[in-house]
């Protein structure tokens, strides 16, 4: 039986959902529509005339090796970020799960990074790794690693992965901890009696039981790394050096607002939109069906 709320006035329900709908339309649906329209047009350099070109912008996009390169880089970036953020937060969650005293303090402290704005998070790490004044680059120098993400593309890439992952650790931690606490104690005890040591217990019992959480977080983290890391990159490397940290969302911005190729940039953002939609569908399908066991 579905519950139905009865309103005294016919238009009241519409009025109540109106703000939500207006915001969605103005800030999401309308720009998305604009992007789709824009992606099939070409504008001349002075913005005086536009021409309808069917899917030419898309064809150009997928014929452009630098775009494909960025695509590949984005995938590496997203999976690295997701792996780092999830691995580290799982480790923290496992440790927090064992703590009995001071648990709430520990948890609260781990939630904080989530409240930090992405740009700030990026700048924070950027400063710590700063080749001249950063504490971490200083320490790395002591152990013989010369760090300069202004020049070294790999190091810059590593830096944005770390900064992006750090932001996401809190979120993952909360879910992993809840997942761990939902694993019945008696299962762990049965496994201990069955002669499994702590590591084996974790990998053969806890981790498989955590798989719905892990899958959910994997999708969330990939989506985050794909689309939400613009600020981190913009505040730090700005896609450089030599495009080493330019991922798809950043390229949309770069080509559109710096390069002023509006049609191409719009086509890129439509591609991104499609990816989000696909990921979301996958997520819904699997979350409904409850992964694995």
């Amino acid at each position: 039986m579905q519950k139905r709320v009865t309103f005294s006035h016919r238009y009241l329900p519409y009025l109540l959902v109106a703000p939500q709908i207006i915001i969605t339309v103005i800030f999401f649906i309308w720009p998305a529509g604009q992007a789709v329209v824009q992606s099939v047009l070409v504008e001349d350099a002075f913005g005086l005339s536009t021409e309808f070109v069917w899917f030419e912008n898309y064809q150009e996009l997928f014929a452009d090796p630098s775009y494909l390169q960025t695509f590949y880089r984005t995938i590496v970036f997203s999976f690295s970020t997701a792996a780092l953020a999830m691995g580290f937060s799982l480790l923290l969650a496992v440790m927090a799960d064992r703590i009995i005293k001071g648990e709430s303090v520990y948890k609260t402290m781990l939630i904080w990074p989530y409240a930090v704005a992405p740009a700030l998070a990026g700048v924070l790490w950027f400063m710590m790794f700063n080749p001249t004044i950063g504490i971490i680059s200083f320490l790395l120098g002591k152990v013989g690693v010369s760090w300069n993400h202004y020049l070294n593309g790999d190091q810059a890439f590593l830096l944005v992965v770390i900064a992006a992952a750090w932001k996401q650790i809190s979120y993952n931690f909360v879910f992993f901890l809840a997942g761990l606490q939902a694993v019945p104690r008696s299962l762990i005890e049965a496994a201990a009696i069955d002669g499994a040591g702590p590591f084996r217990r974790f990998w053969s019992i806890v981790f498989p039981l955590l798989s719905p959480t892990t899958f959910f977080l994997l999708v969330v983290n990939l989506v985050y790394a794909f689309f939400d890391t613009f600020a981190v990159i913009h505040a730090t490397t700005q896609g450089g050096p030599a495009k080493a940290t330019e991922i798809l969302v950043y390229k949309v911005f770069n080509d559109g607002f710096i390069g002023l190729d509006l049609g191409g940039s719009a086509a890129q953002s439509v591609v991104l939109m499609v990816i989000v939609i696909v990921l979301t569908i996958v997520q819904f399908k699997y979350v409904e069906r409850k992964v694995a066991y």
Binding site: I100, P184, S186, L187, E189, A190, A191, A192, I193, D194, G195, A196, G197, R200, S204, I205, P208, L209, A292, Y293
Partner: protein, 359 residues
């Protein structure tokens, strides 16, 4: 082949709560010892200390002569059947049973053979590929048993393994557990709060109360010679009746309002109490032959037996009487009842212990 020696075992939890105040128990090889008591008396705590799932605060625990206080659960060579079965939900029945063997490095072929053997004993052969979620409660229970048996451990530990089953299945599994335990000859500790389960399964019974063992003995020993009012009231169903006694001159004890002297004591017992089981009372023809006259409140015909509930003059509590067969007794009747003199129990109200009297 294993013995268990529990010596002065105590448990204090991290919050300071003392769950076990000290218990000594020797379990012989192949013996099935049942630990019974009301909820919260520390049965599970004791069992979990033997399993190694709780630390031992004081005292020593030895299995086969080796002190195992500091051994991990996996090193103690025990198997445990949990109340909720604790089957691994993501593993098939086969893998649930094989898990402990794999952890101990048993070869692939041998695992197959062992699991197949045990599956045959427990009639699980057709279910080996299923996940626990696809099994009925009774089947899960069997898998939990199978997982314990397949490892051929020194000791079985059972923590209320039947309490999640319906009444009929519970009786079946009870018989099966006993049969298996006899056949395998594995030393076992079995925790339950069901006194019927306790009586029928046990070679020896430990009756616990508030973290202390009240009495340890064979079921019949405990039934016929309960050491305290607690044990007397806990073992046997319906529970033993307790009747207040009057002390006359010379320490003679009688029921209030009755002429018959039941016993004599030296006056060292506080307020004397008579214990008599429902099955050790019978109806008599006249009030003159009776020990008490029961004014009947309620009747429960069970078919084979009839339970009669009522009150007697000078007694506070309700009195229960079990009569064989069926009877035409009505509510409000006054029923003259006599006691079987061979089955009288005397207790000291002050400390609840069995009293020292002459009959």
């Amino acid at each position: 082949m294993a013995t268990i020696k529990i010596d002065g075992l105590k448990k204090r939890y991290a919050n300071g709560f003392e769950a076990i105040h000290g218990i000594d128990l020797d379990v012989a090889d192949g013996e099935l010892v049942v630990i019974v008591g009301p909820s919260g008396c520390g049965k599970s705590t004791l069992l979990r200390m033997v399993a190694g799932l709780e630390t031992i605060t004081e005292g020593t625990l030895s299995i086969d002569g080796t002190v195992v206080n500091d051994h991990e659960p996996g090193q103690r060579d025990i198997a445990m059947v949990f109340q909720n079965y604790a089957l691994y939900p993501h593993m098939s029945v086969f893998n649930n049973m094989a898990y402990g063997l794999r952890n101990r490095g048993v070869g692939r072929e041998e695992i197959k053979r062992k699991v197949a053997d045990v599956a045959a004993i427990l009639e699980l052969g057709d279910l080996l590929d299923r996940k626990p979620a696809q099994l009925s409660g009774g089947q899960r229970q069997r898998v939990a048993m199978g997982r314990a048996i397949v490892r051929d451990p020194k000791v079985f530990l059972f923590d209320e393994p039947l309490s999640n089953l319906d009444a009929k299945l519970r009786v079946q599994m009870r018989i099966e557990i006993k049969r298996l335990q006899r056949r395998l000859g594995t030393t076992s500790l079995y925790v339950t709060h069901d006194q019927v389960e306790a009586m029928t399964l046990a070679d020896r019974l430990v009756v616990m109360n508030a973290g202390r063992p009240e009495q340890i003995g064979t079921p019949m020993d405990i039934y016929t010679n309960p050491a305290s009012m607690f044990v007397a009231g806990f073992i046997g169903s319906p529970a033993m009746n307790f009747l207040a006694l009057e002390r006359m001159e010379g320490g003679r004890l009688r029921l209030p309002g009755s002429e018959a002297m039941l016993a004599e004591d030296d006056g060292s017992n506080g307020a004397p109490v008579l214990g008599i089981r429902p099955e050790h009372m019978r109806t008599v023809g006249t009030a003159a032959d009776a020990d008490i006259v029961l004014s009947v409140d309620a009747i429960e015909p069970l078919g084979a037996d009839t339970l009669v509930y009522g009150r007697a003059l000078g007694q506070e509590g309700e009195i229960v009487l079990r009569l064989g067969g069926s009877h035409s007794i009505g509510e409000g009747d006054n029923l003259p009842v006599a006691f079987d003199r061979n089955h009288l129990h005397f207790f000291d109200r002050a400390n609840g212990r069995r009293a020292d009297v002459r009959t």
